[in-house]
């Protein structure tokens, strides 16, 4: 803003200077015309006329003879002139009459006419100075006004910004105080504050989801790990209640209970391992374990492992891979756990005589592995819930399993940037795993 004011001032100076120059030039032209037409006498008359104080002109005239005695004009004597670089002369003007505000600067030019007569035409620059001073004053006051308005505007704006930050603050205070469902209100203007609020809200949603996950794990531990531990404990307790008898039957009974205890402990350990694996996969740290992997060969290997067990149950397990090589990046260990789960579910729940079809294909730019069976399937409204930890369908409560297989499969597939969905195979169930193709595979 200061530089703008400076520019205005400078432009003004240039303008007034040029105007002065032009005025003096015009005056000289006029006087020269008079002198040509009416001679020296005419010139004296015109100068006298023009330099009358009551005209209030800021023009200065002085006509002298060759000995510098004044003939006409409003200057009392020939000033001490100095020619400056721009061709003009500048001199100090003594205060005369009403112009008593101190020394003025004047600008002039001089000529020598016929017979040694000298003419000086100039202009008192005090008007210019006054004009400049007025400009400076105007600029200063407008500058001050701008400053004040700017300050007021700044205060208003920053108060509005602060008010919105305060809204965010008070919301976070309430959230910290336990109102976890609070969110920062949006103004709908889409400005930076709204975007900040949106990001904060998205972050809070994410935290809430994670907290819900944690809560779920805690609940799981309470329900699904405590009860088998309790069973284990009471089994041992009951075995100890009966007093030991000297014959071999007591040892035999203890042995049996200990065997069952090991079985229960193994089951608990497997559940723990699965929970930890899910947590590991959900934490989403692939840690550079993603290596090039041919999903088709991977599926053929797994089918090879499970084909005999399917056949033993009277099922037909088929494998079809088209194309025969599908390059992805993945962790073979984790993916094998995930896909083995899908195949095992199909083996477990498909009744004798059924078919399990494992296929690998490329579809819509994704590698697609599906496991389809013609068993009882899963009702549409349950297909999402079976991915929850420990969730088991009523119909499958009696079969072996811990209800973690699909949760783990989903966590693993998500870690690989893919999706897993269950669908209707009409009849039966089809589990579809979609995984991103390796970046360098066509």
């Amino acid at each position: 803003m200061l530089s703008m004011l400076a520019l205005i001032y400078w432009q003004t100076v240039i303008y007034t200077t040029r105007q002065t120059d032009e005025t003096i030039d015009a005056e000289i032209t006029g006087l020269a015309e008079q002198y040509r037409q009416r001679g020296l006498a005419g010139l004296v008359a015109v100068i006298n006329e023009r330099s009358k104080p009551e005209r209030g002109s800021s023009m200065l005239y002085l006509l002298t003879d060759q000995r510098q005695n004044p003939l006409a004009g409003n200057l009392s004597r020939w000033p001490d002139l100095e020619v400056e670089k721009d061709g003009w002369m500048r001199f100090q003007l003594e205060p005369a009459g009403k112009r008593s505000e101190g020394p003025h600067i004047a600008q002039a030019t001089s000529f020598v006419l016929a017979g040694g007569v000298q003419l000086l035409v100039g202009r008192d620059l005090s008007e210019n100075t006054a004009f400049r001073n007025r400009i400076v004053a105007a600029l200063a006051s407008s500058g001050a006004l701008m400053l004040v308005l700017g300050l007021i505007g700044g205060i208003v704006l920053s108060r509005r910004a602060l008010a919105r930050i305060e809204t965010i603050n008070s919301t976070s205070d309430r959230i910290m105080a336990g109102e976890f469902d609070r969110r920062v209100p949006l103004k709908g203007s889409g400005d930076e504050f709204d975007r900040l609020a949106q990001n904060l809200n998205a972050m809070l949603d994410q935290i809430e989801r994670l907290m819900a996950g944690m809560r779920q794990v805690t609940d799981n531990i309470a329900h699904d790990l405590r009860s088998p531990l309790g069973r284990l404990r009471s089994r041992i307790e009951v075995a100890l209640i009966e007093p030991p008898s000297p014959d071999a039957s007591t040892a035999e009974r203890y042995r049996e209970v200990l065997q069952q205890t090991i079985g229960e402990a193994d089951h608990l350990l497997a559940t723990f391992t699965a929970l930890l694996d899910i947590a590991e996969a959900e934490a989403g740290s692939p840690r550079g374990r993603m290596l090039p992997l041919d999903l088709a060969a991977f599926a053929r290997d797994l089918a090879d492992l499970y084909e005999p067990v399917a056949e033993e149950k009277g099922l037909t397990l088929t494998i079809a891979t088209d194309p025969t090589q599908v390059d992805i990046r993945g962790d073979r260990h984790m993916l094998s756990r995930a896909v083995a789960n899908l195949v095992e579910n199909a083996v477990k729940y498909t009744p004798t005589g059924g078919t399990i079809a494992v296929t690998v294909a490329i579809e819509g730019g994704m590698a697609r592995l599906s496991v389809a069976d013609n068993g009882p399937g899963i009702p549409a409204e349950e297909r999402e819930r079976v991915f929850d930890r420990f969730y088991r369908l009523e119909a499958s409560r009696t079969t072996e399993g811990n209800g973690l297989g699909l949760s783990l499969a989903r966590a693993v597939v998500r870690l690989h940037g893919g999706t897993i969905t269950l669908g209707d195979n009409g009849p039966g169930l089809v589990a579809v795993v979609s995984l991103p193709l390796a970046p360098d595979a066509g």
Binding site: R289, L305, P308, V309, E312, E344
Partner: protein, 224 residues
């Protein structure tokens, strides 16, 4: 056989030492890494059971130090870290096998004995013989007596692994790891079914079976 157990958890160590002694081995015990490394370098052992996380020293550093001084004693690493890359790191450092805690003692025994045999054998074989069963590793053919047995590639590898450990128990987990290279617990009896298929081919029609099921532990191939 003389074994060294390096384990800082007193209860786990006592249990391990007791079990190994009952299986007929002489056992030394070191309770921290420094002592373990000192014992391992100054005395000769047939195998070392080494806990991964020890006070004073990382178990892997002990293996690395042993291997750097050309000590080839088989090492079985025990660890609570069960991610595949932990396992890979353990084997890369020079460990011969890696077992995740908690483990079944029968699993540890089977693996340890497999290591002891590997340490004893050493030379590369082209034929494996178990009783009347003869496995040609180059031609990849199998015969029992004079009778040639047709095996699928996977069945061949399964039999080869059993034959290399003939007379000893191999667990389902060992088979899944060594023959299929999978590291998970199947919910179904996949391995059992593969074994029974193999059994069909090598034992069917013979009075005395060679492939035995060891209840609660695994399988064992031995001369009829």
């Amino acid at each position: 056989m003389k074994l060294l157990v390096v384990e800082d958890d007193r209860e786990a160590a006592a249990f391990l030492v007791k079990g190994l002694k009952e299986s007929g081995h002489a056992v030394d015990h070191a309770a921290d890494g420094r002592e373990g490394l000192m014992l391992a370098t100054t005395e000769r052992f047939d195998a070392i059971v080494l806990d991964r996380m020890l006070p004073g020293m990382d178990g892997l550093a002990i293996v690395a130090a042993l291997r750097a001084s050309d000590n080839a004693t088989p090492v079985l690493i025990l660890s609570a870290l069960d991610q595949v890359d932990d396992r890979v790191r353990g084997l890369k450092a020079g460990g011969d096998d890696y077992l995740t805690k908690p483990y079944a003692f029968s699993e540890l025994m089977a693996r340890l004995e497999s290591l002891l045999r590997r340490g004893a054998g050493g030379k590369t074989l082209t034929t494996l013989k178990v009783g009347e069963l003869e496995i040609d590793l180059l031609a990849r053919t199998v015969r029992r007596g004079s009778h040639e047995i047709e095996l699928l590639p996977r069945e061949f590898r399964l039999l080869e692994y059993l034959a290399r450990n003939a007379g000893h128990v191999v667990t389902r987990t060992m088979l899944l790891e060594q023959v299929w290279d999978y590291h998970f617990d199947p919910q179904t009896n996949v391995i059992d079914v593969h074994i029974s298929r193999l059994r069909q081919k090598i034992d069917k029609g013979y009075a005395k079976p060679m492939l035995h099921t060891v209840r609660g532990a695994g399988y064992c191939l031995k001369a009829a």
